[in-house]
Amino acid sequence: MLDLRQYESLGAALDDALERWPHEVCLIEADRDRENCRLTYSDFKQMALPFARALQDSGFGEDDRAAIIMTNQSKWLVSAYAIFYCGGVLVPLDYKLTAREHLALLAHSKAKVLVIEYHLWRAIMASPGFKELHAQTVLVTEAPGSAEIASAKRWEEFKAGGEPRFAPRRRQDPACIVYSSGTGGRPKGCVLTHENYLEQCISLTSLYPFWPGVRYLSILPTNHAIDFMVGFIGPFTCGAAVVHLRTLRPEYIRDAFPRYKITYMSLVPMVLKNLEKGLRARFAELPSSRRWMLDRLIGLNKLLTGKRPNLKISRALLKQIHKAFGGELRALFVGGAFTEPATLQFFYDLGIPVANGYGLTEAGTAVTLNDFNPFRPDTVGRPLPGMEVRVVDPTDEGIGEVAVRSRTVMSHYLDDPEMTSETIVDGWLMTGDLGRIDPTGHLQLFGRKKNMIVTEGGKNIYPEDIETVFEGLPVKEFCVFSAHYLWPGSTGGEMLVIVLRPEPGREFDEALRRELAERNRKLPDFKRVRGYAIWDRDFPRTASLKIKRIELAEQIRASTERTTAVATL
């Protein structure tokens, strides 16, 4: 890989990478079982430079901001590189937001250029706030020939002859403004510098290296901090390749593993859980003799790789499973929300290490990551190299707010000095998450500080901590709240309530109630849930699929009364 300590900016590092591995494949874009394009580092440069020149000719330059609203595809990365080449600041926006939200963030970021896919642009053009869009240049990809695109230009035609001028940036200059979705409150524009990204890349690749020949399957949105790092900057600065799949249908994701011999993939816990479900269903369909054999082989693999993963052994013992994953898979990365330890263990036992971690946009990407030395599924791993992590004002149990100091921590929140000074205190990023560092240096998380409940007996309770007991309950989703938080001022005293959304087509029956009560009994008395409420809508979730607790509580509060909604457990 490139020695990133020597670089001042992402643009400079990427530029060198394109020169260093001209004949290596850097990008494959596939749609279902078809391949749309396959680019070498040299092809990538040929595509990006005329685009960069056209951007410069349009007046775009140093410190100007350019937003991208696109699903994962080759033009995302080509545009991002061109923006960095011109010295611009990239504003990657979540394509899953509504047109109204897109317009609000475009206004907040003051983006001068917008690169957007046609179908998303169509939604923006139809939005009542369209007239307030102030981007000077809008570049629309894949617009059909006859399509009306207002004053926008077609991305494919936006190129100019002549060498563009490379605009050098310094490490402390802003590289990106990333809107953190958060699980509550308004979105915040995290200003991340070139140094933040370069240092994060050094740190991550020291644990999970990329090299020419490695293939990363990109299905998490590239606007998300994880995919931006491990699905763009990481592989590109190491000569590796990124595979973009323009569909999220499970059957095509499954096919992509053997087709492209995938080495790494990132995903969110919900998708990992679905993958586990699918595998378990396939195991259950096996004839009993083959199932017996599989169980023995998994047992043997556990015995031989319990202390350290050993891909050679696992691939030899569980050949069919590894073949289905392409035979080259080294690890899956999971983050963005809590991952059930049993799910992590399930994959580990199959010889597919799932590196779970903890991170937040404000800290670059990841703060801690499981290093499998040894495997600790009950934690989110140890701090990555270069990360200082401490627990502020710990209780007797050692639990307190997690604070992070590192060269990867953002510079500030855009145009919000007040929120910045509340969040970065004496150089430490106050995460708002509650955690404990165990004697081996592994971080355990207990939930958000603001969700903590203090009982009448003075004990601290963390709803997210309690939720772990209910993981695997056969319901679609659930969330634990304090009754007084859901219905302030209600009578009946303080207690914990679990809100359940049953699987579609399944009623909340006696069997489910019994399982709920059984799991509840595993908790110490003061932590037990005393009531349950059935909710018939999907929980609101952030882009990274975390439950938006505040919004969910508001919805429950608006349409229910405590007296009728809560049943005693």
């Binding site: 749609d31 699903t71 595809q73 394509y95 899953k96 509504t98 047109a99 896919e117 179908h119 998303l120 169509r122 939604a123 323009r246 569909t247 999220l248 249908r249 499970p250 679905n274 579609p504 087509g505 018939d536 809508r537 999907d538």
Partner: protein
Amino acid sequence: MPTLDQTTDEILKLAAAHFKVSREKLSPDDDLFEKLKIDSLQALELLTRLENHFRVELPDYEMQGVTSFRALAERIQSRL
């Protein structure tokens, strides 16, 4: 070729059958995620079902920004 109204009606019937809800409860301008109480993965299931029925290909990325049954019908209609 069917009209847009016919295509919309066909989608409502298929969606109701697939997610076991009453057809009468669905109307063209409903938010399909909210009305069918489905998540994005289940929406992809519905797309696959509609593709097989109408014999068209509906790329996931083109469905960004589509929330109502009518908008979905328009996308399908343009491909018939």
